[in-house]
Structure formats: C-alpha cells, structure tokens
C-alpha cells in the first residue's frame, strides 16, 4: 500500500532521530533533557538534511534533537479511512473449534486489559434440538451503527471504508454506545491500563487504538493500521484453522491468508448470513453456517447458551 506523504514524513522523522542519536553518541550531555536544548554549543560539524521544502540543508550537529515518534497518520485521515475500500469479514463457523488463538493475538496486539476481550467466543445453540457451535464475535462494523448514532461527541465514527472506530482522545466515557450496541462488543477502560512504558509513551492513534486510555471505550477495530500496510488483521493471521476471512467487498475478494475466495461466491455458495439482521444494523461481518464441521463441538467450560 503506497502512501507518498506518509513515507516522506517517515523518512524525515527517521533522519532527524538518526541524527540525534549520532549527536548523543558524540556529546557528553544528554540531548533529551530541556536544559540540554537551551545550552546548545555549536560543535562545528555540519550535517546534511532534507528540508520540508525538499531542499538539502546543512545544520550543526549540536542543534539536532530527537522528534518524538509521530503517529503514522493524522486524526483527520484516520477519520476518513482508506480511500476506495469497503472492508468486510467472513467467519466460517464450520471451522471453529474454540482455540481462541484469535482472542489471544488480539489481546496481545492491542494490550487489552486482563479479563476483557474484543473478540468473544460464544457457545451457541439456536434451539432445543439444534446442534451447538462456537461463534466468535468481533465488532460488526455495521453500516447503520447504533453506537455511532448515539455518541454525543462524535468520538465513535463510521469511515468511508466501512470501519467503525473510536477516538479515545475525544471519548467522554458516557457509555451510551455500550448500551446501544446489540452485539455487546464494546468494553470500557475502567482502570488505568497497565501498559509497558514503550507502549504507553507511543502517540495515540485511532487506527492502532493504542495506547488505550482510562475512562474511554474500546472495541475491535478491524486492525486498520495493519490493513493500511497491506496486512491482515491479527485475528485472521492468528487462526490456525482459517476461520476468519478478511477482504474488500469492492474487490469482491476475501482471504484468510492461505485461501482466497470471491466474496460474493463464498456468501452465495455457503449461505452466508449476518447476526440480528432484523435490527437493521447492516453488519460488515458475515457468518458461514456451521455445516460439515471440521471439529466436533466440545465444551468443557460453560454450558451452551441459546440465542
């Protein structure tokens, strides 16, 4: 996925940081403290840099200071989405045996508070005599999202590429979205997230949903940071049974990494459906019914719950 502006900015940032690292190596003073910046003494050694206007300029090495790592994209870009895309997920219930690799990968990559999960594995049984099955649920990324409708501050929003995201810098923590979501997909940061300094200090970005912030709502984000780089969401690549397919409806293709299908054919041939269609939320997550299963249903943890 090419993004010229993005890569240029990335280049600039790396140059400056690299320069600073060099400077730190030569000097005795720690250049990372504000005092050090005030008392800069020119070292006489010049470094060539690329200016924002695209010109080569020379700067005394002593003036170089580190740039805090910048977010990959701006908040405005994150709110619009990836142009020309309409993402969808297909979850094949016949392949799921409740391994929860999707969940652990997601929890790890998003540093979710222990005990909470963005992906939940529901043991389902639709009626008394019907077969039980495992149903992983992510955020449905609805086209008529009830959560977005009720948000008082536009902190949760629908993007043009179909993804529903949360801006944790704006969320006021009223939790109306949690009440509104019929899929119970949203979680709340009740406590200060205990994050490693390396993650906690990263600049916040709606696309990475990290670092999470106390008093705000979180949920499955379809990993737009991965998708922007042309990679699959973490749950998709973590599942050893290929349960999750991810793709672009406009390209009409979905893949679990190993297999790729035409979205329309897969949904047609395997009778794909969406959860709670009658509510009119128009989810972007499709399910393939649990027929011809790869694994028997085994549930040692909890009793199967009826929908």
């Amino acid at each position: 996925m090419k993004n010229n502006e993005n890569s240029r900015r990335g280049f600039l940032a790396t140059t400056l940081v690299a320069g600073a690292a060099l400077a730190a190596g030569c000097g005795t003073k720690n250049p990372f403290t504000p005092e050090a910046i005030e008392e800069v003494k020119p070292s006489g050694e010049l470094v060539k840099l690329l200016s924002v206007d695209g010109e080569i300029i020379e700067v005394d090495k002593a003036f170089l200071k580190p740039v805090p790592s910048l977010p990959a994209i701006s908040n405005d870009e994150a709110r619009v989405g990836i142009p020309g895309k309409k993402f969808a997920m297909v979850i094949d219930l016949s392949r799921c045996k409740n391994l929860k690799k999707c969940q652990s990968a997601c929890n790890h990559m998003h540093q979710i508070h222990p005990g909470q999960n963005w992906i939940k594995l529901n043991a389902m049984q639709d009626a008394d005599h019907t077969a039980p099955y495992w149903q992983p649920t992510t955020c449905m990324h609805c086209d008529e999202p009830p959560c977005v409708k009720v948000c008082p501050v536009d902190a949760t929003f629908k993007r043009k590429d179909g993804i529903v995201l949360i801006d944790s810098d704006r969320c006021v923590g009223c939790r109306f979205c949690m009440a509104a979501c019929p899929y119970s997909t949203r979680v709340f940061n009740w406590e200060d997230p205990k994050l490693e300094p390396a993650i906690a200090e990263k600049p916040y970005n709606c696309e990475t949903s990290m670092p999470q912030k106390i008093g705000t709502v979180g949920k499955c984000d379809f990993c737009p940071d991965m998708v922007r780089q042309g990679n699959l969401p973490h749950c998709v690549s973590a599942c050893p049974n290929g349960v999750f397919f991810f793709g672009d409806i406009l390209e009409d293709s979905v893949t679990n990494g190993a297999e790729t299908f035409r979205f329309s054919e897969l949904i047609r041939d395997k009778a794909g459906y969406r959860l709670m269609e009658d509510l009119g939320t128009k989810p972007s997550v499709y399910y393939l019914p649990p027929v011809n299963r790869n694994f028997p249903f085994e549930n040692n943890t909890a009793e199967a719950t009826k929908e």
């Binding site: 939940k120 009720v150 899929y183």
Partner: protein, 435 residues
C-alpha cells in the same frame, strides 16, 4: 384588623433559625455529602474501576439516581404551572416547596451525570464536538433549559417576599440582609412591576410544561432508543412522565409534613392540603400503574425469546424481591392508604409519601440494571464479576451524598427564604375575606 392579620402571617412565615433538631439534621446531611465527596475523589483518582460497573452493567445506580432526580424535579412544573394555569388556588402555599425541590433535584441530576462520566475532564467536548443527533445532547439542552426556567419560577414570586424580608434588618443579620438586598432591592411593589412579573410567570408556566415533558421523555429515550429487551418500548416516554409526577408529588407530601410540623405551619399547610394532595397522589399512582401494566403485561403475554429472561428475572427470578417491593411501595400501598379519608390525614399521608419516594427510587434501579444483565448474545469470556452488579461503597456514598445534597439545598433554602410565599398568602387571605 386586616393589618394585624398581615403582621401575624409575616411573623409566622419569616424564615427561622435552625433549632437543635435542625442543626443536627444539617450537620448529618453535610457529613453524608462529605463522605460522597471523598468517595468521588477516590473515583476521580482511580477511575470508574472503584465502582461495580463493568462491561455488561455499564450503567448502574448513578444513572438510576439521575433518572430519579429528573423524575422528582417534574413536580415543580406540575404544582406551579399546571395547577396555576388551571386556576387552582389551594396549591399556592405548596408552590415554593415544589419549585425548590425541582431546582435542587435537577441540579443534582446534572451533577450525577458528570459523576457517571468516565472522563469528566472532557466535559467541554459536549459543547465543542456536540452532535445534535445524540439523545444525550438533547438531554443536556432540555435539562439546562428546565433548570433556568425553574430558577426564574422560583425567583419571580420571591420578589415581593424579599421586600418584606429586607424590612427585618436586625433579625436577618449582615449576610442575609446583603443577600436579600442584592436579590430584591429593586423591587418596589409598584403595579407596573406586578404586571410585568405576573406576565412573566404566566409565560414561564406555559413554557415549562413542554420543557418538563421533554426532560423526562428525552431521559426515557436514553433507554428506549436502544434495542435492549426491557428498554425497546414505545411506552417509555409516557411511562416515565407518569412515574415522575407521582414521585415528585410523593416528595411534596413529605416536605409538606416536615415543614408543617417543624415550623409550626398548621394554619398554612392545613389538613385540607394533605387531603387534596393525597387525592392527587392517588390519581397519579393509578395513572402510573396503568402504564406499568402496559409496560409489563403486554410483552409478558407474548414472551418473546429475547425478552423472556429479562421479564422472568423481574417477575420470579433474581430481581423479583425488588420488583414487587417497588410495585407495592411506589403504587399499590400508597393507593390503599390515600384512597381513604383517614389515610389523607397528615401523618398517614406522610408515610404514603415516603413509600412512594423509596419505591420509586428502586423502580428506577430496576429500569436501568436488569436490562443490562440480559444482552442479546451470551455473556462469554468475561470475568465472573462482570456478570453481576452490586454497587460498591463508593457508589452508595456518592449516590447517598447526592441525595443528601439535594435535601441540604432544600433545607438551606427554607432557612434563608420563606418556604411558604408570604405575599401570595396575604393576597389569598385578603381575597377570601373580601368575598
């Protein structure tokens, strides 16, 4: 002769210093508020994690307390506006009681909603990023409007009384005198001033009725605009408003009794007032009962799969005790007490009022919490404590502190201002005598 009567009325109704009981009452209220403030400081420091709220029950007693406050505040519009516009005069001595209940309750409704926010430090986002499409923004708008109209409805009828109060300089002391002069020194009792305030009060009385309906309808929509079993109801607006008028009138019964016995106001808040107010409460309880029948019986007749667990939890399950307690104390028992003439005597009516208010508080709890414990999809992959809800001491302390705070405002108001309108009482007695 007439002059004497007037002086007697003024003497009876001037605000009085707290006695021993009053001082103990105020100190205990302040203590409860302080405990609430301490609990809130902990919540601010540690986050909402100090509450028992978790991902499923994400709204708890803060929100039910909010609904309770909004509900009880509606009585201001009923007594001052509805009865005024329908030319009912017996309620005149009760108008200020109702209005101060309205003002203090709606103020605490606003505060408790900030307490419930995960990020109160970002409250300003509601103004800089507010989305008019969200029912929360509607609530912010109508509640603020209601607060200001209620304040004006409290203030305008107070002006002639302030003129009377200012005359008692020595009795008032320095600070109160300053306050009275600041609030009302421009009032000269001229016919032009009366004309203009009468007009203003009339306009406000008319405006406050739709605004009052709006605050509680919009509050009900915070629930009814979602898909959840128990909230997804077209009955909710009317159900909430009828319940609100009921709990507010119950509150007025309590306040009438307390002020009457404490300040020796038997001549002003008479047995007849309890009789009439008692009848009002019976009517309102019957209306609320009617909406409850609609709210529970109709869906229970169908027992849709998604609603079954929720309704059975209320009728016979986990919440059955609280449910039947709330139904009987908020409606059935008060109706049984107040329907009899003996039951409308002050003491019995006072007890009925307490039952109504306590039952109604628990009713609000039942509106908020059980629904959240019955989501559409099973509660999977969540710690055990996410699947139940019982408030922590911090939540009780904060909710209790807010209730104490509302009572404190009413108490202090009655210390500073005449709780029964002096001027209007004089006018009413005069017009009675002239008849």
């Amino acid at each position: 002769m007439e002059k004497l009567a007037e002086n007697k009325i003024i003497e009876d109704l001037l605000p009085q210093k707290f006695g021993k009981q009053g001082t103990i009452w105020v100190i205990s209220l302040i203590a409860v508020c302080a405990l609430g403030a301490f609990a809130y400081a902990r919540q601010l420091y540690y986050g909402l994690g100090v509450t028992a709220l978790r991902d499923y029950v994400s709204w708890g007693i803060y929100i039910s307390n909010f609904v309770f406050f909004v509900a009880i505040s509606l009585v201001g519009s009923l007594i001052t506006a509805v009865l005024r516009l329908t030319d009912v005069h017996w309620s005149t001595p009760l108008t200020r009681i109702a209005e101060i209940i309205a003002v203090s309750a709606i103020s605490f409704a606003g505060l408790i909603i900030i307490v419930d926010m995960g990020r109160p430090d970002r409250f300003y986002n509601l103004f800089i990023h507010g989305r008019l499409q969200s029912p929360i923004i509607w609530d912010v708008i109508v509640i603020t409007t209601y607060l200001f109209i209620s304040l004006l409805l409290l203030y305008f009828p107070l002006l002639p009384d302030l003129k009377i109060l200012i005359k008692y300089k020595e009795r008032n002391g320095k600070w109160l005198q300053k306050l009275y002069e600041f609030l009302g020194s421009f009032w000269k009792n001229t016919p032009a001033q009366f004309k203009i305030t009468d007009k203003a009060i009339n306009i406000l009385s008319i405006t406050i009725i739709p605004v009052a309906f709006a605050i509680h309808t919009v509050t009900s929509w915070l629930f009814a605009t979602t898909y959840r079993p128990g909230w997804d109801s077209t009955n909710f607006g009317a159900y909430f408003i009828s319940g609100a008028f009921l709990v507010g009138s119950g509150g007025v019964l309590i306040a009438m009794y307390v002020f009457r016995t404490h300040y020796k106001l038997e001549k002003y808040i008479t047995n007849d007032h309890f009789d009439k107010m008692g009848k009002v409460v019976v009517l309102l309880a019957l209306i609320y009962l009617y909406f409850n029948v609609n709210e529970f019986l109709v869906p229970a007749f169908k027992m849709k799969k998604s609603e079954e667990e929720h309704f059975m939890g209320l009728f016979t399950g986990e919440f059955a005790m609280v449910f039947w307690f709330a139904i009987s104390t908020a409606m059935l028992i008060p109706i049984l007490i107040l329907i009899f003439k003996q039951g409308r005597k002050p003491k019995a009516a006072f007890v009925a009022g307490i039952l109504v208010v306590v039952g109604s508080w628990f009713k609000r709890y039942l509106i908020v919490t059980p629904t959240l414990l019955h989501p559409f999809l099973p509660m999977s992959d969540a710690p055990e404590n996410y699947k139940h809800y019982f408030p922590t001491w911090e939540e009780w302390a904060i909710a209790g502190g807010s209730l104490a705070g509302a009572l404190l405002i009413v108490t202090l108001f009655a210390r500073i201002f005449p709780i029964i309108p002096i001027h209007e009482t004089i006018i009413e007695t005069e017009s009675h005598e002239n008849k």
